[in-house]
Symmetry: C3
Subunit: 404 residues, 3 copies
Amino acid sequence: PGGRFTISSDDGAYAVQIGLAFHEDVGGFMGMSPRAGETKGLFPGLTENARRLRIPISFRYKNWIANITPDFGSGSADGSVTLYEANLNYAGIHNTVLTAGYFQPRVTEEDSESSNEFEMMERPAITDIVRNIAAGDARFSIGGLHYAKRWWIAGYLTGQTYGNRSSSTNPISDSQTGATFRVAGRPYVSRDIDVHVGLSAISAFKVNEGAQGRVYSPSEAPEVNLTTTKLLSATVGDAGTVWSAGPELGFRWKRLVLKGEYYHIGVQRKGGADTGNMPATNFEGYYGAANYTLFGKGRAYNIKEGAFSAPGVEHPFDPVHGYWGALELSARYSVADLNSNLGTASAVRGGQQTVWSAGLNWYPNRHFRFMLDFNHFIVTRNSELYNLMGRDGNSVAGRLQAAF
Amino acid sequence: PGGRFTISSDDGAYAVQIGLAFHEDVGGFMGMSPRAGETKGLFPGLTENARRLRIPISFRYKNWIANITPDFGSGSADGSVTLYEANLNYAGIHNTVLTAGYFQPRVTEEDSESSNEFEMMERPAITDIVRNIAAGDARFSIGGLHYAKRWWIAGYLTGQTYGNRSSSTNPISDSQTGATFRVAGRPYVSRDIDVHVGLSAISAFKVNEGAQGRVYSPSEAPEVNLTTTKLLSATVGDAGTVWSAGPELGFRWKRLVLKGEYYHIGVQRKGGADTGNMPATNFEGYYGAANYTLFGKGRAYNIKEGAFSAPGVEHPFDPVHGYWGALELSARYSVADLNSNLGTASAVRGGQQTVWSAGLNWYPNRHFRFMLDFNHFIVTRNSELYNLMGRDGNSVAGRLQAAF
Amino acid sequence: PGGRFTISSDDGAYAVQIGLAFHEDVGGFMGMSPRAGETKGLFPGLTENARRLRIPISFRYKNWIANITPDFGSGSADGSVTLYEANLNYAGIHNTVLTAGYFQPRVTEEDSESSNEFEMMERPAITDIVRNIAAGDARFSIGGLHYAKRWWIAGYLTGQTYGNRSSSTNPISDSQTGATFRVAGRPYVSRDIDVHVGLSAISAFKVNEGAQGRVYSPSEAPEVNLTTTKLLSATVGDAGTVWSAGPELGFRWKRLVLKGEYYHIGVQRKGGADTGNMPATNFEGYYGAANYTLFGKGRAYNIKEGAFSAPGVEHPFDPVHGYWGALELSARYSVADLNSNLGTASAVRGGQQTVWSAGLNWYPNRHFRFMLDFNHFIVTRNSELYNLMGRDGNSVAGRLQAAF
């Protein structure tokens, strides 16, 4: 399906598939001079990154499926080798998939889209922060999803991420447990219109315990993965339960798609024996995005994901015959606020990041895509040496993509 | 064969295969409070581990075969990426396979079984300690095996394990050389009965030389791979030749399989210029195991491995038609003693570990398996900070398995 | 092609391929005693190395191709896991391939040969040093090549190598940019004779900026990859542009192939504010090689590579019928000089390495190869602790190879 190579046995009992999700980024930062007293940070003017280099391999015997996906990208520093997923699935129940193993349980509309089909190169910062609480790539999960033509629901119990305990510098003496939940629906559907509403929730019942105890420390790059310097970065020690929830809204009119989501994050804090429990830490974020397909078949609703999918290519690139594939424009405004209780004894100052972005995606055919994104970002100060005074800057980045 | 996907050329000269060995564990430890003065160690109450995530790929041209098997599990800390094997084979001689390259040369009955077919989730501690002397996963090996209906024999010269010299903190100035030997036979065979006898021997002629000289340092987890804390842990400095040998016994009566093995380990020790040679260090260990297949086809003898294989599934899981796959019960008693010459100047106190375990394995079909193991372990003190006084405890763990 | 497994769709629009480049080395060093005051270095008497364990996977849709090649060898210390290439290609123009992504852009005749077809186990030191300036494995590249029956040309803009920015100890604040160029031709061709001339050039416009600023630091093992100790090793601080260029010459007469190349390397140096620019650093190197095919089909010219390829096997190994595959002999003399401006304030003393080598390659069939190489090397002193006085020594090494 979708061009993924499949070999099946004649009786249909067996099938093996091999695919590819290839995302390589090139670009850099402009206007990133640090203010007085700040260190520079790592903001190269021109660099590259192996963003995703996944080779999904799938083995099926009747209704039982084993998936394994090595990833040679996975990072923001020219690539590293890890695992994207490795899970067992039972698909014997109609429109339902039960899953156990390393998996990406989907929360939020943005995270429910395949990364092959994103409007912009990266998710909004708040989406990444929310999903990393107890979901994200290669999270050990047990749960299931069910979809129908008008609604979608999923829930998973989750543990740690692949490789989590491997650290020699931060030995993990107790592991994370958490859960995710998402429900989405389409209250109105017509040929020209799709209305999407949804609710996502996620919680780490307890974050894992390392050398510094239980610490929740969200951090984010400015919606472009060409630096390891995270201007937005908070550390919440003595963390108890971490939770987040928020609404999803989406609207399609012909070739125009509008989307927005808001999430609140709460972190319960246990103090020391002397201080008693501390006030909860509260973070939040939101984004609004608009997308328009200039030529090609516009974005559509994917009921298996409960999310919007990429434009279709009606005729592959063939300039001799006047075929140019598909082209779309995107714009987004995104805010993530990791400041909490400022001015009190329990203040956490992780900074607030605002990103304005605009992008262009060209699809010469259904398997290849070229993206170009411009971001302008403004980040208020936190306590990192490279962000003592607040930083702002710009990035221009392109992506080479192949998906089979 | 066995459901491994194979593509062959029409003339049979070429074939390529791709398979999967997928083992993921979930579980934790109970009753692991340290005694006074001990550190806690890493014994999470609930955690997970990517135990084996192997993708065997095989290329054949006539009688020559190249195997390569990436492994994304391989560890006890949520997975890491490495190589399970990469070797060349010549299969042009009847019932014989000559091998060179990174390989797992088989010693002991337990190690000769495929990990897809183990009775319990992990090998007995003594089996792991013995095989790691000069065999184990991805060991550079040159040798061969021959099998017949009633006997099995193999021998390999071995070097280091894949990745051995990569350490930046312990540079290797000289490499290990060693050898393995195993012979096994079936003195009595009938429809209801299999009698297995065997002898395994292994030696590291010289262990590799790192920053601390030549050191032999066996260590083991308590037969559950959900912790990196090795309660059983010995260090033998100035090590010369390390050898081990011992008998294998196995007996099948209908659906019941009984097994037991004993191994002695000897480590020759070179002292400093002033002390002269020191007395040899001696370790030992043994186990006894019982297994019964409740439903499904019982365990059988695999002449290619010289070892017992997993139960067969006569009808895949299909509750509507009353088919439940196969189910088996296992129990094991295992001892590994890494104490030697206690009370003398050449004492090595690595601790003695006893493990009582019981397990249940369910096979819904021939490719998937679910395991549940309970272990109770008692480990006497050694000199590790987390085991100054002796430790005991329990573990409960489950495994998700797929094998293609 | 060449036995690579390919699955295509019936209409030819789709194809997927999977292959293997398997190179494992065994051998060691002799006569490597350090001189007075030097440390030993890591020169094992007998060790092994996973030199290349690549699994090339290729996805094609019409004229667009995505390649990805995991590598489980890649090193000199028993293997490590990385990426050899991951790139997108457009092949819609006759005899032309346009490429973007992680790639090995070819410079020099020696580097243009497939590693499956090398005369000796390793490239000459100077070839490795030159290609590593701005090419080598998994270099981010954008460019193209064109070949015809009598000539070959290629040029690429290049960035960093896969994984370059991942270092936690040497954070990269600015990335490398560079370029490569190669043109080659065959002024005279007949059945018995091939004359090859070529020119290769390469430049790092700026090397990347790490914690020590912009540093160019070439280093090489003695043309055998069984040690991580680089006797030849130079460090050029405050490096500006690095460039190299030189001629390629090759000549085939029947089964005899003669080759030689020379390269000069120039490093522009920026001084501190007080010192001003420093004189340029200059390195150089060359090699001459002879190869004769004793039996089998001799080496031939590969117009797609602009380089000589390996002998052909007319009849696979089958001693019963008197077929022994192919056998060739190689010899090489190679010099790499990393000393510059000795006796002046801007001296760089990286040492000069001379290697005499001789080798034997046996091909039982077209997919398997066994190599045996002897090297004698002489390295003059530099400032490394293991080479304070100059070192010489010998190595004997064999290689197991499979290529599909």
